[in-house]
């Protein structure tokens, strides 16, 4: 790890530069005010340790905090950890905690809470933290009340990226230790250290958060209240914004074709930032177990046949960027040095013919996340039929899709996945043989298996320096772009639409999900 020995100094310098920059460019934030935000759909609960649904993260990121935050370049920033140090052998991570941090119920936040959270609570319940802690971590221990040491079994490059709030929210030990976590009545009254507290949750209407007066970061937050409004219909959400009922439309909360119109309204700003950590990648997974789909030439033919530019410009209203391979260009370790596919129906026809395709019908499982996806399926069906591939679209509701995808009951499957800041966490899972497991729609559902790729991914995760990791990931991207275990369609952009008088709304790589700590209203 390049930043190994200098971790502490670097982080302090970074923190300082952020402060200076902030002071130089921004106006003095105004205090007070209420912001109305749309959350969609209604979260099942707000206890972020137990639930990591998109809407849960969006609201609960104001209530809970983690050790680190990540800026738009995905560099770690202080949060509950005010500094951190990585040993020269990249195996020991020492976190110094902020002083005078209190839980919402007034109890102090200490190293005991961190150890409990990472070693016990999340290890038991968190599907993303569990594999990391089980495979990589030797021990997690308290050094003193404000210092925690994590010792790894081997160097693990993505370690420093694992402390985002949805991945590792700090959980109060005094409330959860020794209880049945999932049945704890406190799950309905979440207690965090964050800038806002839950005041009221009117099911079906709104979630009301109020300022945490005892917040450890003096002078923050600026806002007094946030109302998260639950409005199930996308068109009604757009009208609610236009009539002034809400101030912020979070990513994905209005129909794609409404984005251009809404962002042109007076006093309206739009940003696609704040999704760098997730960097959603949309694709089609061919089920390589099924006949012709196991043929590389056929898959390459499909890739040439799909007009991805059209998908981006027409279906997604010009938002996003065409991907070249498995790793998003928004994250580290991206490499553009790979075989590329442009829209070329003639070449597609050749390859499909050469593959020995005999006209069998291919089932395309549509993603039931709204009209945009359905239109995209139809466009792609048209593309494929233009080059002689027979396609039928299968439509389901969400649970039906989840079941079919999890049980490999498809030929082609639409999906989009988060990259989670590091290829070892958000990318490898879709391609490695070890993750071919029924029951999980986000595993390697296509069944692609290549021992060379498995080895490269395994080596890349634990390679000690970023340079070595980059070399391995470059190799992986080359191989996968040639073999096409999935057909990458789009690096998706989710626009956040908001009234321009809401300032500092998106300041980190997880955007609105990182909470309204720094936001203020003019």
């Amino acid at each position: 790890m390049v930043r190994g020995m200098t971790g502490l100094r670097l982080s302090l310098a970074l923190a300082a530069s952020v402060l200076v920059l902030g002071a130089a460019q921004a106006q003095e934030p105004k205090k007070g005010g209420t912001v109305h935000v749309v959350v969609q759909p209604e979260p099942p609960m707000l206890m972020q340790g137990l639930n990591q649904n998109g809407p849960t993260n969006m609201v609960a990121g104001n209530i809970y905090e983690s050790l680190l935050r990540y800026n738009e370049k995905l560099e770690p920033q202080p949060s509950l950890a005010k500094s951190w140090e990585i040993s020269p052998d990249a195996k020991v991570y020492t976190f110094k905690l902020q002083e005078n941090v209190k839980w919402h119920d007034g109890k102090p936040f200490t190293a005991d809470d961190v150890v409990f959270t990472l070693d016990k609570f999340l290890r038991e319940v968190h599907p993303r933290w569990r594999p990391i802690v089980n495979a990589q971590v030797e021990k997690i221990e308290k050094v003193d009340d404000l210092t925690v040491k994590i010792t790894l079994k081997q160097p693990f490059g993505p370690m420093i990226m694992t402390q985002e709030v949805a991945s590792a929210p700090m959980i109060p030990k005094h409330i959860y230790d020794g209880t049945d976590y999932r049945a704890n009545p406190a799950n309905n009254t979440p207690i965090g250290t964050g800038p806002f507290k839950l005041k009221e949750w009117k099911k079906g209407s709104y979630i009301h958060l109020v300022k945490n007066e005892d917040y450890w970061l003096k002078g923050k937050p600026n806002l007094d209240e946030i109302y998260w409004q639950i409005i199930p219909d996308a068109a009604a959400r757009a009208v609610a914004y236009e009539t002034g009922k809400v101030d912020v439309l979070t990513g994905g909360s209005v129909d794609v074709y409404d984005v251009a119109r809404l962002s042109k309204l007076p006093n309206t700003c739009m940003t696609t930032k704040g999704w760098e950590m997730f960097a959603p990648h949309a694709w089609i997974t061919p089920n390589v177990r099924n006949g012709i789909l196991g043929n590389k030439q056929f898959r390459q033919g499909l890739m040439y046949a799909i007009d991805r530019e059209f998908g981006k410009d027409v279906v997604w209203g010009g938002l996003g960027k065409l991907p070249t391979g498995p790793i998003s260009s928004k994250t580290k370790f991206y490499s553009a040095d790979v075989p590329k596919y442009t829209y070329d129906p003639a070449r597609a026809k050749e390859l499909i013919k050469a593959s020995g395709y005999k006209g069998e019908t291919i089932k395309l499982l549509n993603l039931p996340y709204g009209e945009t996806w359905s239109r995209w399926s139809e466009a792609i069906k048209q593309n494929l039929e233009d080059v002689g591939v027979k396609v039928t679209i299968e439509n389901t509701d969400v649970p039906g899709w989840t079941q079919k995808a999890s049980n490999w009951d498809f030929d082609l499957n639409f999906n989009f996945l988060y990259q989670l800041g590091d290829p070892a966490m958000g990318v490898a899972r879709s391609y490695i043989s070890a993750n071919i497991a029924k029951g999980n729609p986000f595993a390697n559902v296509g069944g692609y298996s290549n021992p060379e790729v498995d080895k490269l991914f395994a080596d890349a995760a634990i390679a000690p320096t970023d340079k070595e990791r980059q070399e391995l990931y470059t190799k992986i991207q080359k191989i996968l772009a040639d073999e096409l275990p999935v057909l990458w369609l789009l690096e998706m952009d989710f626009p956040t639409i908001y009234r321009c008088n809401v300032k500092n709304l998106v300041t980190t790589g997880v955007g609105v999900n990182d909470g309204f700590r720094d936001a203020w209203k003019e």
């Binding site: 599907p127 999932r182 079906g204 209407s205 969400v398 989840t402």
Partner: protein, 325 residues
């Protein structure tokens, strides 16, 4: 047969029907693909086998099918509608929390449509063939045929966005903290669009039915007799025609009343009204079985109750009817 006997017979039948509905609901829901554990894991964007196992154990899905059915039925016998692990609350309290908003919405729509619909129908019948009759029948036909969601969205755009007369979504002004009369007025203000939208379809139905029924009765012998006796026109229409023509409307009202709970999914969704319909819809897409079954059961029970009530009303409105249990 006296009224008590009639009622007792109806109640016994109702209970048998409810039992059958409860079992059928259970079987039907389980026939749909996917389960709540998979949905939760899917929404979280990450899952491993252990998480799914933990979730299934929580939802009781790791139990044998018949055991699940038995637990469910046993609970219902003691009015325990189960527990929503997804929302971490007893189903009954989830339903009770949402019921007032739904009853307000569907109740308002019911009253408006019944009053306006029958009045319009009666007026149209009275003026059969005149321009006011044509206007009413045309409007009724239009509203009868137009999809509800389209009217809902158009009314939002016209009355909320363009004219700014009413709020487009929600139950009350969020964050205003009104109390007492101010709050009641605020809720009423929010109620206007959804209740009118929801009521339009039934208004149209009542109008059409009332008009047809009145015209039919108007030609009957006893009406002619009344006229021949020299009873005034107004009295003939009111006492002889309208009263006899109302029976089919009562039937229809009974049907609509049965939908008071659980019948307004679309309206509640488009207007972000925090009612039972949305609770049910959310539970459906999330396969939150216990909530879904609870809502189904409560609304089925309402339908059974309103059917019995309708029969009673028949007997009151028209004493000639001898209802057979």
């Amino acid at each position: 047969m006296n009224l008590a006997q009639f009622l007792a017979g109806r109640l016994v039948k109702g209970i048998i029907v409810l039992f059958a509905i409860a079992v059928l609901n259970f079987l039907l829901i389980r026939a749909a693909p996917g389960d709540p554990a998979q949905v939760l894991a899917g929404e979280a964007g990450a899952a491993d086998a252990q998480l799914l196992e933990q979730l299934r154990a929580r939802f009781g899905l790791d139990q044998p099918f018949l055991t699940q059915l038995w637990i469910y039925l046993k609970g219902y016998l003691t009015f325990d509608l189960g527990f929503s692990y997804r929302q971490q609350q007893p189903v009954l309290s989830l339903i009770m929390e949402r019921l007032p908003a739904t009853l307000l919405l569907t109740g308002a729509a019911f009253i408006v449509s019944l009053v306006v619909g029958t009045a319009m129908g009666a007026l149209a019948a009275r003026r059969a063939g005149k321009w006011s009759d044509s206007l009413i029948t045309t409007l009724a036909l239009a509203f009868y045929a137009t999809p509800l969601f389209w009217i809902a969205l158009m009314s939002q755009i016209v009355f909320a966005l363009k004219l700014g007369l009413v709020p487009n979504v929600g139950y009350e002004t969020i964050g205003a903290n009104y109390t007492g009369l101010a709050r009641a007025l605020d809720i009423a203000h929010h109620l206007i669009l959804p209740s009118l939208t929801l009521g339009l379809f039934f208004t149209a139905l009542y109008a059409r039915m009332m008009r047809a029924s009145m015209l039919e009765v108007a030609g009957a012998d006893f009406v002619k007799t009344a006229r021949a006796k020299g009873v005034s026109q107004a009295r003939v229409w009111r006492r002889h025609v309208a009263r006899n023509a109302i029976l089919p409307v009562v039937t229809l009202a009974g049907l609509q009343a049965g939908q008071l709970v659980g019948g307004a999914v679309l309206t509640e969704t488009v207007f972000a009204w925090p009612g039972i319909g949305r609770l049910m819809f959310d539970a459906l897409v999330q396969r939150d079985y216990s909530v879904l079954l609870g809502v189904f059961f409560v609304s089925s029970a309402m339908v059974v109750c309103f059917n019995i009530a309708t029969d009673l009303v028949y007997r009151i409105v028209d004493p000639r009817i001898e209802a057979h249990a």
